[in-house]
Symmetry: C2
Subunit: 205 residues, 2 copies
């Protein structure tokens, strides 16, 4: 048995280690990743082609927890809501992955299946292709921004002396409420889905 102490490399292990680095420092390099996995850079290259592929692996890792519901066309809003909520919950745990993965073209197949499902739901709602792409993008942007909000500190804003009474009252009313981020995400998602439904002449919210 040669080198029994060397850990076995696998695609999930690489994705997990890269995600851990991104969670901690906002990015990763291949030498750092090799070090974290206790392997040489050349061993890494036996499994992945490079940085781009590792980003897609991390994306897949974050997306694979989403369960895709069976689409009932008349309940398209429910489908989008279920997918969006799981998507939000998963990225809330990895906020620093967000700007990294939005700066690369989506190629990961697990992730593409999520967008397939969203496209099918919006098509069922009656959205033409261009409006469907806009609807997907609006939902996507809101999910990612809300995931960052969910990862924010309990005190998002610290008002100073000049703060307006309107802002101070808003902060005092609910900034430190438990489940603040989730409630706000759910309300925003509902508003967006209802609003999107209104833009399609053939369906009603």
């Amino acid at each position: 048995m040669a080198r029994p102490s060397q850990p076995k490399l696998s695609i999930p292990a690489i994705a997990k280690a890269a995600l851990k680095l991104v969670d901690a420092q906002g990015d990763f390099t291949l030498p750092q990743l090799a070090k974290a996995l206790k392997v040489s850079a050349s061993s890494l290259y036996n499994h992945v082609q490079g940085r781009d592929e590792i980003i897609e692996l991390m994306r897949g890792q974050a997306m694979q927890v989403i369960s895709l519901p069976h689409l009932e066309p008349e309940k398209w809003q429910e489908s989008v809501q279920l997918i969006a909520t799981e998507y939000w919950a998963s990225y809330s745990k990895h906020p620093r992955l967000i700007p990294l993965m939005t700066s690369y073209t989506v190629r990961d197949s697990t992730t593409l299946r999520v967008y397939d499902a969203l496209a099918e739901a919006f098509a069922a709602a009656g959205f033409a292709p261009k409006q469907r792409l806009q609807a997907i993008t609006i939902i996507d942007s809101f999910i990612l921004g809300s995931a960052l909000d969910a990862a924010a500190p309990a005190e998002v804003w610290l008002a100073d002396e000049q703060a307006s009474p309107e802002f101070k009252a808003a902060l005092e009313s609910g900034q430190n409420t438990e489940d603040r981020a989730r409630q706000t995400f759910e309300l925003g998602l509902e508003i967006i889905l209802d609003g999107l439904a209104r833009t399609v002449p053939t369906t009603r919210a």
Copy 2:
């Protein structure tokens, strides 16, 4: 004249150099920042107390370009729209600052004035304090998510062979359109503002 070759340190110079590091690598350390400014770490500490303060400086740097409109209460949607659009445009240029700054409590006074203005606009619309905080957060999340979308590559998704016809048609309809991100942001913002207006019984969209 002692040490004439040493550049003068200033708060704006520190903010600018830190932002440059974050744009490039997603984060910064104080030693890296000192090196970029060609000063010692102790010189840096003569101007800033530490990492937290530098993050607030970067936030202020990104927010200072926003011009705050004079609020006409019956045109509150217009005010929010103007602020949101400039906010989005500024963060589109610094996507990697986004998760860094959402993970720290907002203390920067330039930034707090932007939230004052949003709170005043939503108060004018008739939102009670708690709903006002939710409205601010929903808009904020959508702006930041959309700024990430604006910074994404022209080809956001690369469909694979299994991709659904609904998704493929959506991609073909407009993925590489000029101004795609701006148009989608504007549509989403309109939908959210109209939807929020509907949640206030005393006003109409």
